[in-house]
Point group: C2
Chain length 365, copies 2
């Protein structure tokens, strides 16, 4: 047994430095302030809200699912006056609606939006909303928890000022850290705060001194998690992001073709469906929890239940990062068909795999 | 390669439940609300401050080192009016000084104190201060980051209302989680808040529903860290806490005897020295950083530098948890003697190990 390396050991400092570089590559940014916050993905939301928001700041939040609502709650707790821009679950937020809110606000500090709404499967376009935010002098904040390393997240090209993600989805490391990146404009807003950040643990000024060249001790880095993330990010860069995005598109197209052929309906707005997270309507008369339990018991497959208004009505099928593989698509389609048929559901049998195969053939060109 | 278990998997839920029981045993408490917060030890401080403090609350904080000062800063950020009770670095906080502050405060919400001041090596007695806090209607909060599973931490017997620790010291798991416990009185104070907890990530009401029987999703638990902590806590309970405390006392007595025999001086107040963290005065004319670098390079031993006013003047030698072993005491004494003698320091050579041996013999009785 060997002890874990010390968090101030020079060898570990080198890993921290290299990890910042890998995360910049994954986020497609040159932002100096790019590092993993020492908490799960949700702590990435909180580090951004706690550092960019002060009492009374006006904040515009797109709410079209559970995770948009969560950001609104988080921002309010930090003292923001929150303007919610709502859309139906499963649909995207229209840029026009954000523009209306920006015009109505007196002095909007930031616009926050969820890139991949994990509760609905909607894939939110960012670029136009980011341009609108900046035109009105607001910072652009993006929740990329379920999008990073699955679909394009272009922090610099889309002019995103603060972006956060998690480690256990597209990056396929264990959960426990929140990769975050802050633009120069975001850091400028931090420096111009009138009051101290309410959070000691997530104060970016202190954390920046720890992850920066000064190496001022703040808190003990979660070393083993950082090694795991380092290795996961290295694997992503080795595969190349473009190839990873293509892999997600291809497998999702096959999954969606198979589900459609079986007679199941996808829930998210057409044209704005995430490849890495598919929402499927539970057919009438089917006990959705029993289907999930059978998938786990018989096939060791875990799919997720619906949240909020989708509870009992929707399944959520993840196909992310390392798990986004043809064998998983094939297994799930076969397993789901057997379980649903066994429950007496009338569905088109024996068609799903052929439809998936056709999708793979089409993708191969 | 096998995927990591899902955070909602029934098998994982069982681990969460068992871990709560193990942590209760380690904290010596029956508190229902005992669990690991999803951040490093410092997040344990923050979860307590963020949930127990509201704007304008009066808080009394003992400050006799870097970690007391840190709690004061954290409490102020949460809106507290902080009364600092200061003592010289290396000394303990006297109960009388806390009593004076309690009497001067109008309506003290809590008293916070550091049990094992990692920056000075002082071992703070808790029981009398806790009795005083409760006599004045205040809650008792204890920072047990460096004390848990090294020296007695008696949450129930000492009537502590909120206590936090880390995973990488006495428990000897990797860093990344903060075991915390809240008494019924502390949870009552949480329920009586006039305002929402400022922190979404660390809101004990929401986290309690996730770790409680409801299993309401809040954030994804850092699964691999939780398994590591589970295993570490199991090892602690298997050794038995009383035996672990004895092991720390014995090895520290030998280390201190050896250091004294060599002619080095301990810094912390006599009678209140931590066994798990010894502070040693750097002898006149010695380059303290060079000594640490040589210990690491030649012997793979890491000791820590002084913080704040102790910077450049003090070494901090950890002897915690799994690393608190006779072989480490022997190796450090031998290594230090060689390095210091090599730097031309006049010290009593060849006496340290005999002194340590005598201490071990005395302990064996």
């Amino acid at each position: 047994m060997s002890p874990v390396i010390g968090h101030l050991d020079p060898d570990f400092v080198k890993v921290m430095e290299d990890l910042k570089g890998l995360l910049r590559a994954v986020f497609r940014t040159e932002n100096e302030m790019t590092f993993p916050a020492s908490g799960t993905g949700s702590s990435g939301m909180e580090i951004i809200a706690a550092n960019l928001i002060e009492d009374g700041d006006e904040v515009i939040v797109g709410v079209n699912g559970a995770f948009g609502a969560r950001f609104a709650d988080c921002a309010e707790r930090q003292g923001a006056k929150v303007h919610k821009v709502e859309a139906q679950w499963g649909h995207i937020i229209e840029p026009g609606a954000i523009e209306t809110a920006l015009k109505a606000a007196r002095n909007p500090k930031l616009v926050a939006i969820v890139h991949a709404e994990t509760s609905t499967g909607a894939h939110q376009p960012i670029e136009e909303i980011s341009a609108l935010a900046h035109r009105h002098g607001a910072l652009m904040v993006v929740d990329a928890v379920t999008s990073l390393a699955c679909v394009p997240v272009e922090v610099d090209r889309w002019n995103i000022d603060a972006c956060f993600s998690c480690t256990q989805k597209g990056l396929s490391a264990p959960p426990g850290l929140a990769p975050v990146t802050f633009s120069a404009a975001a850091m400028d807003a931090v420096r111009k705060r009138r009051t101290k950040c309410r959070s000691w643990y997530l104060d970016i000024a202190m954390i920046g001194s720890y992850w920066g060249s000064e190496r001022v001790y703040h808190h003990t880095a979660p070393i083993t998690m950082i090694y795991a993330l380092y290795e996961a990010a290295r694997i992503v860069i080795e595969e190349r992001l473009e190839e990873r995005w293509r892999r997600h598109r291809t497998n999702a197209a096959a999954l969606h073709a198979g589900l459609n052929a079986m007679g199941l309906k996808l829930v998210a707005q057409e044209g704005h469906r995430l490849p890495q997270l598919s929402t499927v309507a539970v057919p009438e008369g089917i006990d959705e929890a029993k289907v999930r339990a059978e998938l786990l018991r018989l096939f060791n497959i875990e799919i997720a239940a619906g949240l909020g208004p989708f509870k009992g009505k929707v399944w959520r099928i993840g196909l992310m990062g390392e798990s986004c593989r043809r064998e998983n698509v094939t297994l799930l389609l076969g397993a789901l068909e057997q379980i649903l048929a066994g429950m007496g559901l009338e569905l088109a049998r024996g068609k799903a795999l052929a439809a998936a195969d056709a999708a793979y053939a089409a993708a191969a060109g």
